[in-house]
Every structure is written in C-alpha cells, then in structure tokens.
C-alpha cells in the first residue's frame, strides 16, 4: 500500500497551483510544437529541453515534461488528420483513416475520437504504469550486469532491425551513435577517447546537441534541399460542429470505445517491453480493426475505428515506454532517449535505483501524467482553431523558426562555440543520413545507451574476473541475447511467410523512425 501513499503524495505535489500552471504550460507548448508539420515528439521535446531544464528543482521541470511528452503526441495526431503529414511513423495509420474522415467533412469527429481515445488509453496505461513500475524496479535491482548488457543489446537490436529499410544502414547508424557516446574522458580510467587531442572534447558531446543536431538541424537542411516554396500545405477545414456529445454522435461513441480499449491493450505491453517501439502495436491495432471491427467495410474511406484504435495504441505504448525508461534506464524510442537526456541534465540516472534515490520525483512524474492528460482533454478540442492556425504557418517561417529554437537549445545547453560547431556538424550528418536513407533513431539510442552499456559490461567483467563466458553460460542472459538475434529475423517474416506459402516474396517489414 506504500506505493499508493507515495502516488497520493505525488498528486499532492502536482495539484498545487504552481505545478498545475507548469503542467498547463507543458501541454500547451508540447501541442503547439507537436502540431507543426514534420516535427515529431522527439524533436518537440529536444527543442523544449532548454526551457524545462532552467529549473533548479527537477520536479516542476518533469511536471512540465510530462505535459510536453503527451502534448507533442496530441499535436501530432491533429497534424496527421488535418494535413496527412504524420510527424512520426506511429501516426501513419491515423493519417490515413483520419485524413479520409476529414476530407469527408468529419474532421471534428476524427479529432475527437483521437483525443478521447488517447485520453482513455493514457489513463489506463498510466494506472498500469503506477502498478508495475515499483515492482519492476524492485525486480530490476537484482538483474545481473550480464543480463543488463543483454537487455540493452536487445533494445538496440529491435530498434535497429525495425526502423529503416536496410539492416546494414541501421547498424552503421547505431555504431555512429555509440562512437559519439564514447568521446571524452573515460570515467573509470580517466583516459581520453576520440578527442583527437582537443581539450574541449574532454567533457564529451552533450546528448542534447546530438538530438537537436540530428533531428532539428538535419530536418531543416533536408527541407531546404528540396527547394521549398513560400506558403503552406492545404489544411482541411473543420466543418460544422456535429450533433452529439464532444463532437461524436452516439453511433460514433459506440464504434469508438471498443477500439480505444483494444488499442490500449495492444499498446501498453509492447511499450513496456524493453524492446519497445510504438509502431508495432499501432500497426496491430490498425490491422485488427480493419479486419474485425464493425466498421471494417469503411476502411479506406475513413473509418472511425481506424483512428480510434491506432491512436489509443500509440498513446498506451508511449506510456508503456516509461516502464523500461524509469525502471531500467533503457530508452526504447527516440522520444524516450530524449527523455533520458532530460534526466541527465538534472544528474538523475533513471534505472532500478531511481525509486530509492528520487522516489518523490518518480511519483510526481506519474501523477503529472494523469494531470497532463486531463488538461490535454480539456484544452485540446476547445483550442482546435489555434492549432489549425499553427498548421497554416508558411513553410519558410516554420523551419526558420525551428532553426532559431534549435540554436537556442544548442547555446543554452553548451554555451561555447566549439559545441555549437559540433552540433552544426552533427546537423549536416543528419541531413546526409536522411538523404541517403540511414535511420536516425539508432544513432540517438546508441549515443544515449553506449556509456551505460560499457559501465555494466565492465561491472560484469570485474565480477567474473574477466571471463567473457558469463554471457553464454548464464541462461537468462543467453536467452535475451538470442532474442536480440531473433529481432533481426523479424523484419524478414513477411518474406519468409510468403515464400512458405509459395507466393512472391513480399516487402520487408520496416517502419520510419522519427518518433
């Protein structure tokens, strides 16, 4: 029962007037930036990182972050529905059916089912998070260092195998990120690595610079290279306010609640696994609704189930991702990796010890997830006209603005010109990677995880007296490593199944990576 008491304390912290204000600012900023076309949640959080890390006390910062985290997601769905340009691959399903609904004049219904579904799924999955987080962290304390390394390899392997189109390019991206992570002084031996004699590199490269450089600067250069024109994409009008409660007719409510619950059921477990990723559950939810729901005949013309289910799944897995993040310190998506960077700004290391060292922070964070979602539901639909205006920002102004915020983030987190130059160089790299179809997410995850992986690896080696065989003689570790290996076979499954059925090989299963 101690956990419930702790959660109540968390609510007490979060429900103070100043904390509520931070939460409201967080959800509004998150939605505002998240709505911008082409900006997924990872970039949103990276751009807003310098704002939130100005606090001395991490608790208000994380209350704000919880708002930004979900606000960025809500904003993304709005863009997908009204513009058909999803900011992240997990919104692709929403973009299809939701956009078709909007074209049919049912934009408000699509926005409502997405917002309410996200709310329902987020509340369910936050309850589950509150229930499993502490036990999971307690169990994680006893995880051996070898298994820890294996789990990290598993999450890196699944992310690398599932995003992008080529395993080779995915792995190159991953190794690149890991090289970034090792730049600077080795904390254990005090030796310099990859500094090329420059004392300014002794402190390493800040994670924030890598994230802002690869995502924000890289994206701006990418857009630039495609010769954008002045103006903005056509935004679909909202249409008339429909009859019914919260923009949904009774029939639409009846068709929505099933997909919401199923979506949450798909999303949370997948997110909570250390292999993570929101794409798979979203995709599963879409397929389920498409093949089995009452409205399956409408798929392809704008079926409300095709918005309700995937949106709920996306949100639930977004919450689920916080399980490995908080209890193991392992990010399983680019967005989660940026959250880790935020923790590090406050010198807080997420992981099994987090509940012991910063219990009040964790429970306040979980409580603010509830509060943030309620605020979003209250704010999101009434403010829809504001979000539509954001969508109408001309492309040059939008991306030039992103550049201004990116530079602000870089300057605020580094304050010296060498680091600014490094961030720009990383931005150029991000641009080239986009152009040549190298996925970005593995680089970010590699950069965030490599140092901790090395630390755990050395811990394992110290306790085994340098004997590497502990990685294959311990059954748990071995099983996790084999799973990691299997992750690379997963994307080939459609092809294997097609061959087994004697058909022409299908496409390789792959997802985009900007979430």
């Amino acid at each position: 029962m101690g956990d419930i008491g702790a959660l109540m304390d968390g609510f007490a912290t979060v429900l103070s007037p100043s904390a509520l204000l931070f939460a409201a600012v967080g959800v509004t900023l998150g939605t505002l930036v998240g709505v911008m076309p082409g900006i997924g949640p990872a970039v949103t959080i990276a751009l807003l990182l310098p704002v939130a890390t100005q606090f001395d006390d991490p608790i208000p910062a994380f209350i704000m972050f919880a708002g930004i985290y979900y606000g960025a997601m809500y904003g993304g769905s709005t863009t997908s529905i009204l513009l058909n340009t999803p900011g992240e691959s997990a919104s692709v399903a929403t973009a299809i059916e939701g956009n078709l609904m909007a074209r049919r004049g049912e934009a408000r219904a699509a926005l409502a089912t997405s917002a309410i579904g996200s709310f329902v799924a987020a509340i369910i999955s936050t309850v589950l998070l509150a229930l499993v987080a502490k036990p999971a962290a307690d169990a994680a304390v006893s995880i051996q260092a070898t298994s820890y390394v294996a789990i990290m390899i598993l999450s890196l392997a699944t992310v690398t195998a599932l995003v992008g189109h080529s395993v080779v390019r995915g792995l190159v991206s991953l190794m690149l990120g890991m090289m970034f992570a090792l730049v600077g002084l080795d904390p254990q031996s005090g030796q310099t690595r990859f500094t090329f004699g420059s004392s300014e590199l002794f402190g390493g490269i800040e994670d924030v610079l890598i994230v802002i450089g690869l995502f924000a600067v890289g994206e701006v250069l990418y857009v630039l290279s495609n010769r954008p024109r002045d103006g903005h994409d056509a935004v679909i009008g909202l249409g008339d306010r429909p009859k019914g409660f919260l923009w949904l007719t009774p029939a639409q409510w009846r068709r929505s609640w099933g997909p919401w619950l199923r979506g949450a059921a798909f999303g949370f477990p997948f997110g909570a696994m250390p292999s993570g990723g929101a794409e798979l559950p979203t995709f599963l939810s879409y397929s389920w609704e498409k093949n089995r729901s009452k409205g399956r005949a409408e798929f392809g013309e704008g079926a409300i189930e095709g918005v309700a289910g995937p949106e709920a799944a996306n949100n639930a897995s977004f919450t689920g991702v916080l399980v490995p993040l908080l209890t193991l310190g392992i990010p399983t998506s680019a967005t989660a990796a940026v959250m880790i960077a935020a923790f590090k700004q406050f010198n807080i290391q997420p992981g099994p010890q987090l509940f012991a060292t910063s219990g009040d922070l964790v429970w306040a964070l979980i409580a603010s997830l509830f509060v943030g979602n309620v605020l979003l539901l209250v704010l999101n639909l009434p403010l829809i006209n504001l979000w539509v205006k954001v969508l109408s920002v001309p492309t040059p102004v939008l991306y030039s603005g992103i550049l201004v915020f990116a530079s602000l983030g870089i300057y605020a987190s580094s304050g010296n010109s060498t680091q600014v130059t490094i961030a720009i160089a990383i931005g150029v790299l991000g641009f080239v990677m986009r152009k040549l179809d190298f996925p970005i997410a593995p680089t970010i995850l590699g950069a965030i995880l490599a140092t901790e992986m090395e630390r755990q690896f050395r811990r394992a080696m110290v306790s085994s007296h340098g004997d590497l065989s502990v990685f294959w003689t311990r059954p748990v570790t071995l099983v996790i490593l084999l799973l990691a290996l299997a992750a690379f076979a997963l994307p080939q499954l459609p092809r294997i199944v097609a061959l087994a059925r004697g058909r022409r090989p299908g496409k390789r299963l792959a997802f985009g990576d900007e979430d």
């Binding site: 100005q54 201004v404 985009g512």
Partner: protein, 184 residues
C-alpha cells in the same frame, strides 16, 4: 538528376494506401547514376579507419576486457566493417545501374549557404548579442528556405528574437548574450 523531392515534411513518403501492406515508408523512384551513396560509403570507411586508429591509441589498462580500449575498438572495427559492406553494396548498385538507396541531394548551394549562416551565427552570437544575430538568422534563414515575403519575415523576426530574449532572460533566468542592443 531528375528526381522528385518527396514530401517536404512528415515521415518519408506519402501515406495514402494501406499501412498493412506498406509501413514501408520510402518507396523511392529509382534515380540512376547517382554517385552520392558511393562517395558516402568511401567517407564512412575512411572515418572508420581513422576512428579505429584513434581507438588503438587508448591504453589497454589492467586487461583488455575490463579496460577502456575494448568498447572503442569493437565499435570502430564493427563500424568500419559495416561501412565497407555498405560501400560494396552501393558500388554494386552503381555498376548494376540500379542505384535506389536514398535520394538526390537537391539544392546544395543553398544548403551550404544555410550551414555557413549557422556557423556565422555561432561566432557572432556573443559579440553582437542574441537579439540582432537571431533576427538576422531568422530573416536570412527564411529567405534561404524560399520565402519572398520580406515584410512578414522582418516583423516575425523582430517579434521572435525580442520575445525569446525577454522570455528567457526575464522569466526563465537564462543568460543570453546582450551584445550591442542594451536591453534587459
């Protein structure tokens, strides 16, 4: 290189159609004769070799598996090997006339201009100050990004740079260089 640029924003590619069949998001039109991937492959291999050499300057320490050299060595060697595989793939595509990874590089002079603008911003930020340099960054950046609405950009530029400066220095207590404009 006649190559249609894909959607200017959002995840790659369009999103009409069936995601069950196509979470494959970058169905690119092939563009033949592009050497960029090969050049990138060569650069990656060179980078890998430089990094391997750098990794081996790290002392082994007590022993290899517990010391600071193992991770850099394993990562850089793996990177170089993968870069070589990538290069071989791209050379194969080029020789086979079916270059299909990635897309054409588009408007490189403007990209270079933007990189120059960013670098310059980094250097003048301290001496000139946040407001003026950010204003110039925004206006010139918008122009590079295709804007031809000068008045709009000037107004937004002033608002944005002033707004951020006041918000961050007054409300959030972030130190931003004041430079030549005496404010705050």
């Amino acid at each position: 290189m006649t190559h249609e640029p894909r959607a200017t924003h959002g995840v790659a590619g369009g999103t009409t159609g069936d995601p069950a069949a196509a979470p494959d998001l970058t169905a690119e039109e092939p563009h033949r004769g592009a050497v960029a991937p090969v050049v990138a492959g060569v650069l990656l291999v060179v980078l890998g070799l430089v990094m391997v050499r750098e990794a081996f300057t790290v002392e082994v320490g007590r022993d290899l598996v517990r010391g600071p050299r193992l991770f850099p060595a394993v990562i850089t060697i793996t990177f170089t090997a993968l870069a070589a595989v990538y290069l071989a793939q791209q050379v194969g595509h080029l020789l086979g006339g079916r270059v299909r990874d990635g897309e054409a590089f588009g408007d490189l002079p403007r990209v270079a201009g933007m990189i120059g603008l960013l670098l310059a911003y980094g250097f003048v930020l301290e001496p000139v100050g946040y407001i003026l340099s950010t204003f110039v960054l925004f206006v010139v950046g918008s122009w590079l990004l295709g804007s031809r609405a000068w008045k709009r950009d000037l107004v937004v530029g002033v608002g944005l740079s002033l707004g951020i400066f006041v918000l961050f220095t007054q409300l959030l207590a972030v130190r931003l260089p004041q430079g030549v404009i005496p404010l705050g």
